[in-house]
Structure formats: C-alpha cells, structure tokens
Symmetry: C2
Subunit: 166 residues, 2 copies
C-alpha cells in the first residue's frame, strides 16, 4: 500500500498511458475527460513546471508495471494570487476504500499550503453516481461553493467544492 | 460606429497585437490577463476552430489601422454538452458608453444559441472597480451564479454570471 510519504512527484513518459488507464478504470470520467487527464500529463512532460500542473502519483508498488493505484493533479489557477485547482484525483477501483484518496488530497493540500496557497477548488458532477465523490469532499472539510444547474448537460449540474487553507 | 451586423469573425495575425492593445487600454485587466487574452488569439490562429475559441471583432472603422473598438471571445466549455464560456469581452475606452459591449454580448448569445448552446458563463472580479462590469451583465439578463470569496486575491472575489438561453 502506498503511504502518504512516498507519493512520486516526477512525471515519467509512461504516466501518460498510466493516467489514461487509471481514469478510464474508475468509470467516473467520460471519454473526453479521460483524454484531457492524459493531455495534462503530456503537457507536464513537454513544458515542465511552466505547464502549471503538479502531480502526485501513487505507484502500484511494482505489482503491475506502469499501473497506478491513484494520482492527483493540482496547480495555481492562472490570474489568481494563491487559489489552487484540484484538476484531478482518482483512485483505482482495486484500491478504493482504503483511504488512498484522502491521503492524496491531504498531501495536495499540504503542498499547496507550502506554496502559499490559500484556497483549493474542486469540481464534480451533481449526478447520482457522484454522490460518493461529493461526500468524499465534504468528509475532507470542503464546502459547496456553488452549484451550476445543467452545466455538464441536462440534469447534470456542476458542484464546486472549496476549502480555505488557514 | 461598428454595428451588430458587421462584426468580423475571422482572426487575422494582426489581431494578436490589437487584442493585447485593446485589453491593456481598458485598464480592467492585469498584465497576466492581457497576456492570456493575446494567447487565445494566437491559439485560434494556430489551431483554427479546434482551439475552441470563437471571436467577434469590432474593427475601428479604418480610423486607426489595426485598432479594435472592441472584441469578444467565447467557446464551448470542454466536457460540457452545451455550456459556453464568455472568455473575454472588451470595449476600447474611446468607444465605451455607446452600447457596443451589449451588441457584442448579444451577438455572442445569438451565435451560441445557433450552435445549440443552453447556457453562457462569464466571470469577473468583485472589486469596486468592476461594479460597472457586474451591472453590465445584470442589465443584459445575467444572474449571479456564484461568488467565490478571495478567489483572485485577498479581498478580490470571483463572480460567476450565468444566462440560460431559452
């Protein structure tokens, strides 16, 4: 089991496929969302820190080469002083329920705080299938900052969760 | 005076500088925001419609070569079915108060509706200097969908305005 202490932060070329596989395996993301998740990894590889995307990777402890247990992606929101977006967080179905998501999120927050961040924003869907995602953010101390009706599509609202960092 | 009928929609190479000059001239945008405004024009030139950015340009009626009276930039929000972001709208100070902003916005909405769009989202600052911007959206039928405290910086909230298209 990956512990909070050893999340990998360097992006490697095989993470593009690993993130694509992981995002698809969760069943939570549409095809275009999976493609975007992988694109952010590519952009990090090409542009480095200038991409604005920081990653935490929970490796599969070497059980399956190139497979991830989970990952998170965050970054300073352009044109803000200290607001950060949690662009992605995902945990492999085989690993869910063991607290890895919370450890990834808390490590993101720790790193954001260290960078001078004052707020973290995370977006998710209001559809029934995402109730566990919304409860996850609430359990982790996030407040519902906004709900945009029918944002993603008819009957598919966008929730914006916010956590202020002290 | 540019009328609603003749907004130019094709992006030309000199629009990069023209949009940069216009955005800077308004005094409403930070240096990094002005840079991003110009980058979106560059991305449109490089990637065409695949950039996801559509533009309306109000030319300066030939009075000053390469100068714009105003412009707007909108596009389908990735991973949504029919939600559009009004990324930018700006009117030159010499032209403000004559209704050009409203004509640009209404033409964006007309084009978004024709593309099947069901909602338009526009973000702006909660600072006192943007009170006229916020009143502009309200006059044009937008509702305040969310306010994120201290989003841009301390004391600088983000307002998200929303208009549902019937």
């Amino acid at each position: 089991m990956t512990t909070g202490k050893d999340f990998r932060t360097e992006t490697r070329p095989d993470d593009v496929a690993a993130v694509r596989d992981l995002a698809a395996a969760t069943g939570y993301f549409s095809a275009s969302e999976v493609a975007i998740a992988a694109e952010l990894v590519e952009e990090r590889l090409q542009r480095g820190p200038a991409s604005g995307y920081e990653f935490l990777y929970a490796d599969d402890s070497g059980r399956i080469a190139g497979r991830l247990d989970g990952y998170a992606c965050y970054g300073l929101i352009p044109c803000t002083l200290s607001s950060y977006d949690l662009y992605w967080i995902a945990v492999h179905p085989d690993t869910q329920g063991a607290g890895l998501g919370r450890r990834l999120l808390e490590d993101c927050e720790r790193r954001i705080r260290a960078l001078g961040g004052t707020g973290v924003y995370a977006e998710t869907s209001g559809k029934a299938q995402y109730v566990s995602t919304r409860k996850f953010y609430e359990r982790c101390g996030y407040a519902t900052g906004a709900v945009f009706a029918d944002f993603y599509g008819p009957g598919d609202d966008k929730y914006v969760f916010v956590k202020k960092l002290g």
